[in-house]
């Protein structure tokens, strides 16, 4: 499918989403509430069939967090990026996509570990790299460690 066709098909199912085409891939913008049904449709509808989630990460924009999901369809050979805005920076929460792609399990644990985003219904949400008693989330922009020295 071309970018235009993906946009039309997504808009038909989810009229609320917006788009950003400034970068290399088509970006579909949604919020933390609208993420799960959108992701399920992108995986299960055969016209999309995004079976390969190749990158899952988070960006801290200080005022809000953005979850970024890069997806590729092996059969249809098209790519899409879904971005979900999490407005609440103090207690960020979003639905897990573990049940759709297995790879999300480890990647969401990484985001939980380094950004503190809580994934609802994640089967095994624990820190993955840092110790369990570590305080704070290092990749957040407001993270301060007393051992960090400004060079």
């Amino acid at each position: 499918m071309t970018t235009e066709e993906i946009k039309q098909s997504v808009s038909a199912l989810f009229p609320d989403v917006t788009y950003d085409e400034a970068g290399e891939f088509l970006n579909v913008l949604t919020d933390s509430k609208g993420l799960k049904p959108l992701m399920q449709a992108l995986r299960r509808n055969s016209e999309f069939d995004f079976d390969y989630l190749f990158c899952l990460t988070c960006i801290d924009w200080k005022t809000h967090l953005t979850m970024v999901y890069h997806m590729l369809s092996k059969s249809n050979n098209h790519t899409v990026v879904v971005k979900a805005k999490i407005a609440d920076v103090n207690t960020p929460e979003i639905e897990t996509v573990c049940d759709i792609w297995e790879t999300a399990n480890f990647h969401e644990r990484e985001v939980f570990d380094l950004f503190g985003v809580k994934f609802i219904n994640h089967p095994d949400l624990r820190r993955i790299f840092l110790d369990e008693d570590w305080e704070g989330f290092p990749l957040r922009k407001n993270y301060v460690d007393e051992n960090m020295i400004e060079i």
Binding site: A22, G23, E24, F25, D51, Y52, L53, F54, C55, T57, I59, D60, V68, H70, K74, W101, E102, T103, N105, F106, H107, E110, L114, I128, F129, L130, D131, E132, P138, L139
Partner: protein, 373 residues
């Protein structure tokens, strides 16, 4: 993560053991907690982070020239290819045209890196499964590749040879002859490799039908590289999303349908020959010209997002840079191949015997610093 104070035997009668973090077969500081029923694996839980350095956080305070060097320390056996991914991503942002000569040199170095990485893997696989000789055979050929790297890049393992716009220096005058000599030597040894390990009855019994993963699972777990191609998943970035002129070269994407350890082994063995084939096409056809494009002293990427993927020796490495227009990245994410490949370990190993775990880990070819970053 508490190791002590937990019951060694669970309520279901399962026996819990810890493999690693200091264990020779884990090839680094990987810690696996394994639930066993007799000798059969019921569950595996990897505990990561023993070598986590937060390269992503460090990169946020480094310039676009300097952050590349940290990536040599992720997958240290594919250091050059990691550097190449970062350089390509920065070039994409700056819209710099890389000279043809630099592209050819990058591919040559990348394929030499892949060759040396697969050789090390071949030696270690033999060692893990009880054959000591392959290790010495592999290091014999690998040494001559390391010597080429040392001569041109000044380093054997962490080359740091790629810079945004090209490569750091031109190739050494001896480069062509040495590469040709090395290829000749390696080509003559492939049969030896096959004889000593591939056809060995013990080796076949240890690997055939062991550690199976289906194509659907491999995609769902985000497996890439030889790990996924052993299950018949077409995922070679060099073919699907060519970069640095791979589209002009003749080579095959190796696919095996078995999905087991033996299939993954065969993929890597065949890939070595393809790498040799690629180098042979290029070595006499390195274009003349500049080896580096002119770039500004301080690089500033325009506001936006840039994603670049390359095929390392272990799979697809993605570099995702978010720029706010400053001289260092606002956010950088490395989608490392080993992290996703490791997540599939539980699926591959559940139901097999504890002794097979070593064979499975060996054919995924894990490099732990790339998992932990």
């Amino acid at each position: 993560m508490s190791l002590l104070g937990e019951d060694i035997v669970t309520e279901d009668g399962e026996f819990v053991i810890n493999i690693g973090p200091q264990h020779p077969s884990t090839h680094g500081v990987l810690h696996l907690k394994v639930w066993l029923d007799g000798e059969t694996i019921k569950r595996i839980q990897p505990h990561l982070g023993y070598i986590h350095r937060s390269i992503e956080k460090m990169s946020e305070s480094l310039s676009y020239r300097n952050f590349i060097y940290a990536t040599s320390r992720m997958d240290y056996l594919s250091a050059h290819i990691n550097n190449q991914a970062c350089a390509l991503c920065v070039e994409k942002g700056l819209q710099v045209e890389v000279p043809e000569r630099a592209k050819a040199i990058r591919i040559l170095m990348a394929e030499l890196t892949r060759l040396s990485s697969h050789q090390l893997w071949w030696g270690c696989t033999g060692l893990d499964l009880g054959a000591v000789t392959p290790f010495f055979y592999a290091f014999r050929e690998r040494e001559s590749i390391m010597a080429i790297m040392e001569e041109t890049c000044g380093a054997r393992l962490t080359q740091n040879y790629c810079v945004p716009g090209g490569v750091m220096y031109d190739i050494h005058p001896n480069f062509r002859n040495r590469v040709k000599d090395t290829l000749k030597q390696i080509r003559s040894k492939f049969n030896e490799y096959e004889e000593i390990l591939t056809g060995n009855v013990i080796f076949e019994q240890r690997t055939k039908g062991v550690g199976y993963i289906s194509a659907e699972d491999a995609i769902s777990f985000g497996c890439t590289g030889p790990t996924a191609r052993g299950s018949g998943v077409s995922c070679d970035v060099r073919k699907l999303f060519p970069y640095d002129g791979y589209e002009k070269l003749q080579f095959k994407e190796i696919l095996e349908q078995g999905g087991d350890c033996y299939a993954r082994y065969m993929v890597r063995m065949a890939e070595m020959k393809q790498s040799v084939f690629i180098i042979e096409q290029l070595i006499d056809n390195i274009p003349e010209g500049e080896f580096q494009a002119k770039t500004k002293m301080v690089l500033k990427l325009p506001k936006g997002e840039f994603y670049q993927r390359v095929e390392t020796a272990r799979g697809e490495l993605g570099v995702y840079i978010v720029s706010d227009g400053a001289a260092s990245p606002y956010r950088i994410k490395y989608r490392s191949p080993n992290f996703s490949n490791l997540s599939a370990l539980e699926r591959m190993a559940t139901g097999t015997k504890i002794g097979d775990l070593v064979a499975i880990m060996s054919t995924i070819d894990l490099v732990i610093p790339d998992v932990d970053r």
